[in-house]
């Protein structure tokens, strides 16, 4: 499979990049929410929340770029996917509302703090599950007629989409646990280590299950992965997953601070690359290609100017914000 370099492909990579940055950055935020019920002590919860309080808003902005950028660069795909994923998207938005306001509300009340802790955990879980389900629903294919979605409003619900939903929850939880390993100390960090082990094995199970199930969805996926000569390009992906896993196990065994988190991100990157291999060149699998969905050239060029200047700038000042709040978060120096 050779990939031509044209505007639609460039934009497909830009959108994929935005979504990936979102998954990486909001992934650990959401993961912390998923793990929240496992840390019942108030002091631990304060530290967990403070470890992302200064950056969660920027992390979530990548989701807006993914959605807005898709409407701009591939309006047809946006207008087909959103109604097709209606229920998971609405569920995700509602989950993100609860999770987002909890960051502020939790500190404004003592009586109702428990309520916002539940909102934080429940919202994070709901948003993560909904995102994973949406991903599965896209992969399994969407009923399109003309320029419209032509299915029902429960088409997204299948065993496969539930599997991808659960898989993403596990993956985000792993990111959250390894983030805590990196950002906290003492007993809290020890608990995060324990959770990281369990979640890593769960994540490997999930990657395996999704990898086995995907080729059965469409014969095209099978050919993409296993037909000669594609296999030359696809075989390195599972091999790399195995290599990263070994490193990650070693990092956890040696109780490293940073490695577990960044290697978990690498696992995500490889899974994401696998997803790209399965989908390309479709943006709505098996019905709409990136060229069919692409905006007119002048829209894509107009935005390309902005993106090429602004994304590096955004990455730079985002990195600065992370740098300002670097290091371990301690209970007594919480930001709130």
């Amino acid at each position: 499979m050779s990939i031509p370099v044209d505007l639609a492909v460039i934009w497909a990579f830009i959108i994929a990049f935005a979504v990936f940055v979102y998954v990486v950055m909001d992934g650990f935020d959401l993961g912390l929410g998923i793990l929240f019920p496992l840390f019942p002590k108030k002091q631990d919860r304060d530290v967990i929340m403070n470890s992302v309080a200064p950056v969660w808003d920027g992390n979530e902005t990548w989701l807006v770029l993914g959605g807005g950028g898709m409407m701009a660069a591939f309006p047809l795909a946006y207008s087909v996917l959103m109604p097709a994923l209606y229920t998971p998207i609405i569920a995700m938005l509602l989950g993100l509302i609860f999770r987002g306001v909890a960051f502020e509300f939790r500190w404004r009340t003592t009586k109702e703090r428990n309520k916002w802790d539940i909102a934080f955990a429940g919202g994070s879980l709901l948003a993560s599950l909904a995102q994973g389900i949406a991903l599965g629903a896209i992969l399994q294919g969407i009923h399109v007629e003309g320029r419209h979605y032509a299915g029902g409003w429960w088409d997204w619900l299948t065993p496969f989409s539930i599997l991808t939903g659960v898989a993403l929850v596990i993956g985000y939880a792993l990111l959250g646990a390894t983030w805590l390993v990196m950002k906290t100390e003492g007993e809290l960090r020890d608990r995060a280590y324990g959770l990281s082990w369990a979640l890593l094995f769960a994540m490997l199970g999930a990657i395996g299950a999704v990898s086995i199930a995907t080729p059965f969805l469409h014969v095209q996926y099978t050919q993409r992965w296993f037909a000669w000569p594609n296999i030359i390009f696809t075989a390195p992906v599972p091999i790399a997953v195995a290599a990263v896993t070994v490193l990650l196990l070693r990092g956890l065994a040696r109780k490293y601070d940073y490695q577990p988190f960044f290697l978990s991100l690498a696992l995500f990157a490889l899974s994401y690359a696998g997803l790209g291999i399965s989908m390309y060149p479709y943006i709505v699998p098996q019905s709409i290609t990136i060229w069919q969905a692409a905006s007119p050239e002048n829209s894509q060029i107009f935005m390309l100017f902005g993106v090429s200047v602004l994304i590096p700038l955004i990455l730079a000042y985002t990195a600065w914000a992370y740098y300002v709040f670097r290091g371990k978060v301690r209970p007594e120096s919480g930001y709130h």
């Binding site: 309080a53 808003d57 920027g58 309006p75 829209s299 602004l310 709130h336």
Partner: protein
């Protein structure tokens, strides 16, 4: 359930509901971000403690309001696709890039520097911290620029062509961005945001002055807010008038609806103050009007003829009662705002600014005036361009997603329940923060540094920053 309902009506109800809840927060945070930048600049410049106390006081309020604006805003950016798929497909090539630029130039700037603004004063020192505050304030204004450009293009589309797939495509990006109604709408909205914030700040100041006329923070914020009311409210009335003339030129039907002009007036149109628009009968009932004044205001000539809705096919009429009444509510609020500004100027000249209980009660009562005016103004402009979504090009009825009514109804109910629960809590927390008076040693959202706000001067802060 809901099988017999019209999915388009439900989708419109959902958009109106989520939009109305959303818009009040940006309207407030655009103004508040700029106010915070001013307060921090004054602190750096004068070193007076009262400014950093006020800064930290309003920063806590900003954090809550901004968070609510962010989460309700994400809903908006996905709703174009979930509920208005045909609109997204057809206008995506034009609206999409404008919103993408909003995300790239504004949302990231705000979000990227927000963490430092809220929690980072001790970590980066006052100067870099001021830069972060400034970036957040500028971000909110850039955001207003792009989203109002997109909205204005939907009101007065220019610089486009239509491609083979039936999509609107930019022929000239500058004409798209700087479409005819954009400059007027931008000025009107940004001033509205500033006024909204000023009247909240003024009300909070007045509330604490009623309790203690010597409260230092309350005096400063009340005085600053009243200067805004005195100066900006009249400017806003002027800007609104210009915006109206622009609308008359590009969307005359909207003006007919706002004015209640069902009938054409050959020699001078009246200005109707009140009345009840009867859409079915095509007339304004119980009308109270001033002869010729409508033509004077809109055409600057008492005898200028003005066409009415009787010159427009009925299927192109907006639902007159909405723009007619919301317009009157907005104008009423504007006049009250200017009135408070004038009264405060009189009291200031007489030296009673901080002791006039009448003035303070008036200011407290005016706390929600900005929000009411903003909502009313948006209802005027959005219902006034109906039945179109993109004026003259794309009808609202033809823009919706191919969804079953039960799907839209369920999500609408979910949004209503969640918004009422979440926003009731949020507004409670905001009011609680406002009910406490700003005090000596006021802390920000961060309890990072117990001693920070208490006594440090900008210079000492700079030293602390350098040491870290």
């Amino acid at each position: 359930m809901f099988e017999g309902w019209d999915a388009v009506v439900l989708a419109r109800a959902q958009f109106a509901f989520t939009m109305s809840f959303h818009i009040v927060f940006p309207a407030f945070s655009i103004g508040l971000a700029s106010y915070l930048a001013v307060l921090e600049a004054l602190w750096l410049w004068t070193g007076r403690e009262v400014f950093i106390n006020l800064f930290n006081y309003w920063l806590k309020i900003f954090a809550v309001a901004f968070g609510m604006g962010v989460v309700s805003g994400i809903v908006m950016s996905y709703q174009f696709g979930t509920n208005w798929a045909v609109f997204a497909d057809k206008t995506g090539p034009i609206i999409g890039p404008l919103m993408a630029y909003e995300v790239l130039t504004a949302f990231f700037l705000e979000a990227g520097f927000l963490g430092v603004m809220l929690f980072g004063l001790k970590r980066v020192g006052p100067r870099l911290h001021f830069l972060a505050t400034l970036m957040v304030a500028i971000g909110t204004l850039i955001s207003a620029f792009w989203i109002l450009s997109a909205n204005s293009w939907m009101q007065t589309p220019t610089g486009y062509s239509v491609n083979a797939a039936g999509q609107y495509v930019a022929a000239d990006w500058l004409e798209v961005i700087f479409n005819p109604s954009f400059p007027y709408r931008l000025v009107h909205m940004v001033l509205a945001a500033y006024l909204t914030t000023a009247f909240v700040v003024g009300a909070v100041g007045a509330f604490h002055l009623l309790r203690d006329p010597h409260q230092a923070g309350a005096r400063v914020m009340f005085s600053m807010a009243m200067w805004m009311a005195t100066i900006v409210a009249p400017i806003q009335i002027l800007a609104g008038d210009q915006h109206g003339l622009n609308t008359l030129e590009h969307q005359p039907v909207k003006i007919m609806a706002m004015e209640g002009h069902f009938e054409s007036h050959k020699d001078g149109a009246p200005l109707y103050l009140f009345g009840w628009p009867n859409q079915a009968a095509g007339k304004l009932e119980y009308a109270v009007g001033i002869p010729k004044l409508g033509s004077v205001i809109l055409k600057h000539s008492p005898d200028a003829p003005m066409a009415g809705l009787d010159t427009v096919p009925r299927e192109n009429w907006p639902p007159v009662v909405f723009p007619f009444w919301s317009f009157r509510i907005m104008v009423g609020m504007g006049l009250l705002m200017a009135g408070l500004g004038l009264l405060s100027l009189l009291m200031r000249i007489r030296g009673n600014l901080y002791d006039s209980r009448l003035l303070h009660w008036f200011a407290v009562a005016m706390a929600p005036s900005g929000f009411i005016a903003v909502l009313a103004g948006w209802i005027t402009t959005e219902t006034g361009r109906q039945p179109y979504l993109v004026y003259g090009l794309l009808r609202t009825a033809d823009s919706a997603s191919p969804l079953a009514a039960p799907a839209v109804a369920s999500s609408l109910i979910a949004f209503v329940i969640v918004y009422f629960a979440v926003y009731a809590a949020g507004v409670t927390y905001l009011l609680r923060l406002m009910a406490a008076a700003p005090h000596h040693g006021e802390e920000g959202p961060s309890k990072d540094a117990p001693a920070r706000a208490a006594g440090i001067t900008p210079a000492a802060g700079a030293v602390t920053g350098a040491i870290r």
